[in-house]
């Protein structure tokens, strides 16, 4: 048998068989990956689902007991108290009960936003995408369709990672803002409870507990952060609007003035544009060239400008 015959004897595989083989291998890989991720999720999920083990009563039972403090009739009961001592004791009990309920809910809320929770979400997303890709691959007819399915899975996974990454990075800032805002309202409540009822009535205290609840919401935290950044921007705008410096004409200042006004009275537009460009590139763009030349606070920058523009040669 010649070499040519040997070669011709080897089994020929059609493109369809190639596709089937490739499909089988890819199926096996994707399914193995999905199983591994499922196992990881199961382990990780256990951590996320684990609640505080020290509680003797369930959260539901605890909240049921405290429900009485949210009865709309508390105001009537309060008004029916005849002496200050009873009124004050009743007010304090209702407000402390409400604050406790709000604290319990807030603790659950923050727990649900915890890092473990977002990790589980990421794991769930990836597994979902892996199974979707696996099912698409299993029904795909051509290698091109198989590869398209895999790339869709990878792209989807990346989107999921990005989304969860930003969630993970943003949430601590929002939780921190909520905690700070809650403390501020709680101080108001605690101070109020030290006052007699004619100075801090139950109605006023109930309004403050509503504020305490609101301070622990994401919407409130986002609004507070937006407001704070707006105030900072406004302060910076004011700073930009009003610049003050003390007169100090040094050698670099003289050189720069001669550079901008070579004849002492008329501006050389090209030179002034060069100086402005230098100022813009060196963090002094918000100042006029005049204040830059004469202001004491710009003396170091002037010296650097003279050096960079080669004006002292």
């Amino acid at each position: 048998m010649s070499a040519c015959d040997e070669l011709s004897e080897q089994p020929r595989t059609s493109p369809t068989r190639h596709a089937n083989r490739l499909q089988g291998r890819v199926n096996a890989i994707v399914l193995a990956l999905a199983i591994c991720l499922s196992a990881l999720l199961a382990l990780n999920g256990c951590t996320a689902m684990r609640g505080p083990s020290w509680r003797l009563t369930s959260r539901r039972d605890e909240l049921d007991i405290l429900q009485k403090y949210f009865d709309p009739r508390v105001i009537d009961k309060y008004n029916n108290k005849y002496n200050e001592a009873d009124k004050r004791a009743f007010r304090d009990e209702v407000i402390n009960g409400q604050v406790h309920v709000i604290d319990l809910n807030y603790a659950d809320f923050v727990h649900s936003l915890s890092e473990d929770s977002s990790t589980v979400n990421l794991g769930t997303d990836i597994i979902l995408l892996a199974f979707n890709s696996a099912s698409m691959v299993a029904t795909a007819a051509t290698p091109k369709t198989i590869l398209t399915s895999i790339s869709a899975g990878i792209a989807g996974t990346k989107t999921s990672v990005d989304k969860n990454y930003f969630y993970e990075k943003t949430m601590p800032a929002l939780i921190s803002q909520m905690s700070a805002a809650r403390k501020a309202v709680l101080v108001t409540i605690r101070r109020g409870l030290m006052l007699p009822t004619d100075e801090y009535s139950l109605a006023q205290a109930l309004i403050d507990t509503d504020g305490y609840y609101e301070a622990g919401t994401l919407l409130s935290a986002i609004a507070d952060i937006t407001e704070a950044s707006g105030a900072t921007a406004a302060a910076l705008d004011d700073e930009l609007r009003e610049l003050t410096a003390r007169y100090q004409l040094d050698l670099p200042g003289r050189l720069l003035r001669r550079f901008c006004k070579p004849d002492g009275s008329r501006i050389d537009p090209a030179n002034q544009a060069m100086l402005r460009k230098w100022m813009s590139n060196n963090g002094v763009a918000n100042v006029s060239t005049s204040l830059f030349i004469y202001g004491d606070k710009y003396s170091d920058a002037r010296a650097r400008a003279v050096h960079d523009l080669h004006l002292n040669e």
Partner: protein, 53 residues
């Protein structure tokens, strides 16, 4: 956006140059004599400098 720049302790002999330079930058300038004899120059600009617009 309107903004102001204030230069304090400008001596007599530099006042004309300082005022002229601020006006060349497009400002409306107001000068005030300080108790120590120097000048305070306040330049009012109607816009930000060119590179920050």
């Amino acid at each position: 956006m309107e903004r102001t720049e204030t230069l304090t302790y400008v001596p007599d002999n530099a006042l004309a140059d300082v005022v002229s330079d601020f006006e060349s930058d497009g400002a409306m300038v107001v000068t005030t004599r300080q108790p120590d004899g120097n000048w305070t120059v306040v330049a009012y600009f109607s816009t930000m400098p060119p590179e920050t617009k």
